[in-house]
């Protein structure tokens, strides 16, 4: 593990890291290239927040309209499973941050390892989600006209499950996309492409993954806990 002997950021021999990397033709310096990439990712995250913002807005509107139905339907979500998933995602954000740090310090082994743990956490999240969904489908707690569960006091419980499935479904899609991205940078990290000279993709995917985590941190209390 040669990187361990290097100082965390200080270059011993920067040329030997990220051998295949170069500055694209339209940039003058590596800093300019890196700053551009970073700014691009942040702007992309802004669009994601607005995208989910529309969903949250719809949630609040329907919650205030059909308050009793939402409170009643809310009790049918599995708080334990939701809490477990919250833990899993927060932990995966930690390992993601550690992976970025390892890439910055030329520690290829740790980068790959932390990315692998992040990937496994994402997989675990989806497995838990699968059991939750199966249970809902089995109980007939479904969106709109497919809602056929018995014993609800209030109408429009189907609206809650419509919102629930859309929000968690779109979030789940982001998790799946995130898994693809993590796998992609994990393979590249394993090929030794990242180092203190060049780690923009690791950081970019990391920022995306934190956002996915953050959205869930809002989804969990709003859907599962607020009664």
């Amino acid at each position: 593990m040669s990187a361990a002997t290097d100082s965390p950021i200080g270059p011993s021999d920067p040329k030997k890291h990220s051998p295949g990397w170069s500055i694209a033709h339209h940039f003058d310096t590596a800093d300019q290239q890196f700053d551009s990439a970073r700014m691009g990712i942040w702007l992309f995250l802004v669009t994601e927040i607005l995208f989910f913002g529309g969903l949250f807005c719809a949630f609040f509107i329907f919650r205030s309209w059909y308050y009793e139905a939402f409170v009643e339907a809310n009790h049918h979500l599995d708080k334990v499973m939701g809490a477990v998933n919250t833990m899993v995602l927060i932990f995966s954000s930690l390992t993601m941050a550690l992976a970025v740090r390892s890439a910055q310090t030329n520690d290829k082994k740790k980068t790959v390892l932390f990315l692998l743990v992040t990937l496994l956490c994402a997989g675990a999240f989806l497995v838990v989600k699968y059991f939750e969904y199966t249970h809902k489908i089995h109980d007939g707690l479904l969106p709109g006209k497919w809602f056929h569960a018995q014993g609800f006091k209030h109408a429009n419980a189907g609206m809650f499950f419509a919102v629930y499935f859309m929000m968690t479904g779109i979030h789940g899609l982001h998790v799946v996309i995130g898994m693809g991205l993590i796998l992609w940078i994990m393979i590249r990290a394993n090929n030794g492409e990242f180092s203190q000279r060049y780690y923009a993709p690791v950081e970019g995917v990391g920022l995306y993954w934190h956002l996915v985590d953050l959205v869930w941190i809002y989804l969990f209390p709003l859907l599962y806990l607020v009664g």
């Binding site: 940039f27 551009s36 529309g54």
Partner: protein, 554 residues
């Protein structure tokens, strides 16, 4: 007529090692495949230009059909269902496939990097992806032509869109995909302007077109995701009957309107702001005068972009929103008039005692000033609560919208297309024919749409297939006007197309412009500049030019 100032004020600080002398972005590589896989912003701009012009022709074709149908009060050439489909597709194509992507995608892509002295946009591959997303979106949208059509109007209002038959999901999905293209273009431009400016290009040395494009990009990034989620909810609604928007299922149709206009009102500034930017270029260059009130024009673009987010409720004055909300939205709508007025007055001040050349671009720019003034002022009528009750959903709204979008954006776009045509293609068009096209278009436009103000104020509702007999003379006049507009576009097409074959070779700087795109070769080489330019003056510094007036205001 023109005074070339080659390289004036630019210093060369390094020696390039790019493409060989004489090569340019047209001939650097050959074959269709080299175009489809290019990451050169100029080639991507050209492909956007061709694509959006095809969309414009298609949308225009539907417009001519609509006007033809309205020649008589009853059935003329098509059935009521076909009429609904024609106005829906006219609107959807013009808005989502032409006017939103046209100026940023075509002219923005081509000139933004050149105007800041950069070699390309910040993310060239992402830029190509934007184009492919646009094509994909266009395929889905136009696919509705063979997949059952669409009768909802371009706004996809629920419950039309949740209950009528037709290819609603297909078209909304197409618009959803095209929206991502718009987002990525905006993102690319913002990063490019922030990070890739050449030495000496400070923010206040940016050409005003770029301030406008920057403001547009902010709106594209902040508003388009909301349209994306709205359309996605609509698709879910239709596919799974979940009742987010459909009142019959427990949803709220007005919520759809809120969501839709939260995007689509800012989106009209996506459509007009780049047009404002182009007018600043056309007026300054063709009047040979330093622009009056540079900072005022620059910040008015930003102000319009920001205020534009707070006025969406003025589309819903009669849709059942609270009186308080309507009053606030009405007040905020009037606020937009202030930065818009700032622009108009600064343009007029720039023209004051300048050496105006009545070249083709200037003819279009002056037409713009007249038409946009009318379009903007009639917007105030509609923003007034009591007046809107009478005018909403009439031809008055249609006329207002076309005065700002066609009289504004399209006139600016066609003017700028002429302005930059020599730089893009390396050929000069026929000046006389160009001026004639502008004048014919101005006449045809007013015939078509001024008439509609009168129709609307007399109570002619929009989107009606049949109408009262008393409206027929005005409708017929409007229809004849639409043929005159069509003729004007045929002249433009003929003029520009023949210039490619037989036009004179264009010099590097035919209009004597000061901004960077005129300081490089015509057509530009792949890397835009043989040597990275070092800029030492503003984009409209005509004060050192003996042929220009207005030296005293610098």
């Amino acid at each position: 007529m023109s005074v070339a100032v080659p390289g004036a004020g630019t210093e060369k600080h390094e020696h390039g090692h790019g493409s060989p002398p004489g090569s340019n972005y047209w001939n650097a590589e050959k074959g269709l495949w080299s175009w489809l896989t290019t990451v050169d912003h100029k080639r991507i701009g050209i492909m956007y230009l061709i694509s959006t012009l095809i969309a414009f022709s298609l949308g225009g074709f539907f417009a001519l059909l609509l006007r033809l149908e309205l020649l008589t009060p009853r059935k003329t050439i098509m059935s009521p269902a076909m009429y609904n489909q024609a106005f829906t597709l006219h609107g959807a194509i013009m808005v989502f496939l032409f006017i939103i992507p046209s100026i940023p995608g075509a002219l923005g892509n081509f000139f933004l990097p050149i105007m800041i002295g950069a070699k390309d946009v910040a993310f060239p591959k992402l830029n190509l992806l934007s184009l492919y997303l646009y094509w994909t979106g266009a395929l889905f949208t136009l696919g509705s032509l063979v997949a059952g059509g669409l009768e909802t109007g371009w706004t996809f209002y629920v419950p039309y869109s949740s209950t009528t038959s037709g290819a609603v999901i297909m078209v909304t999905f197409g618009v959803f995909v095209a929206g991502f293209s718009s987002i990525l273009t905006g993102l690319n431009f913002i990063v490019t302007i922030h990070k890739l400016r050449a030495p000496g290009v400070s923010w206040y040395r940016l050409p005003l077109f770029l301030w406008a494009t920057y403001s547009t990009s902010v709106v594209q990034i902040l508003a388009t995701p909301v349209l994306a989620i709205t359309l996605l909810l609509l698709i879910f609604e239709r596919a799974f009957h979940i009742g987010i928007f459909d009142p019959a299922l427990g949803g709220d149709a007005v919520l759809f309107q809120h969501f839709f206009w939260f995007y689509s009102h800012p989106a009209v500034y996506i459509m007009i702001l780049p047009g404002f930017g182009l007018i600043s270029e056309l007026i300054a260059v063709h009047a040979k005068r330093k622009i009056f009130g540079y900072k005022a024009i620059a910040f008015s673009s930003v102000a319009i972009a920001l205020i534009g987010f707070l006025v969406w409720g003025h589309h819903m004055f009669v849709a059942g929103q609270s009186e308080m909300a309507a009053t606030i939205f009405s007040f905020l709508t009037f606020l937009v008039a202030i930065p818009t007025g700032v622009k108009l007055f600064n343009w007029i001040s720039t023209l004051w005692r300048s050496s105006i050349t009545y070249s083709t671009p200037m003819v279009y720019a002056i037409a713009f000033l007249f038409l946009f003034a009318i379009g903007g002022l009639t917007g105030l009528f509609l923003g007034m609560l009591a007046v809107d009750v009478h005018l909403h959903d009439t031809y008055f709204v249609v006329a207002h919208f076309h005065y700002v979008m066609m009289g504004g954006t399209v006139f600016a776009f066609v003017g700028a297309l002429h302005h930059w045509w020599p730089k893009i293609t390396g050929r000069m068009f026929n000046e006389k024919l160009g001026r004639i096209s502008g004048i014919v278009m101005f006449i045809g436009f007013n015939m078509t749409f001024f008439t509609q103000f009168i129709l609307g104020s007399r109570g002619m509702p929009r989107r009606y297939y049949n109408y009262l007999d008393q409206f027929q003379p005005l409708h017929q006049f409007s229809t004849v006007g639409s043929w005159v507009i069509g003729l004007a576009f045929l002249i433009v097409l003929y003029n520009l197309a023949t210039s490619l074959k037989s036009g004179a070779k264009a010099p590097d700087n035919p209009w004597g412009g000061m901004s960077l795109e005129w300081q490089t070769e015509t057509p530009p080489p792949t890397e835009n500049f043989r040597v990275t330019p070092k800029v030492t003056h503003g984009p409209y510094d005509y004060s050192n030019d003996p042929n220009a007036t207005g030296a005293s205001d610098s």
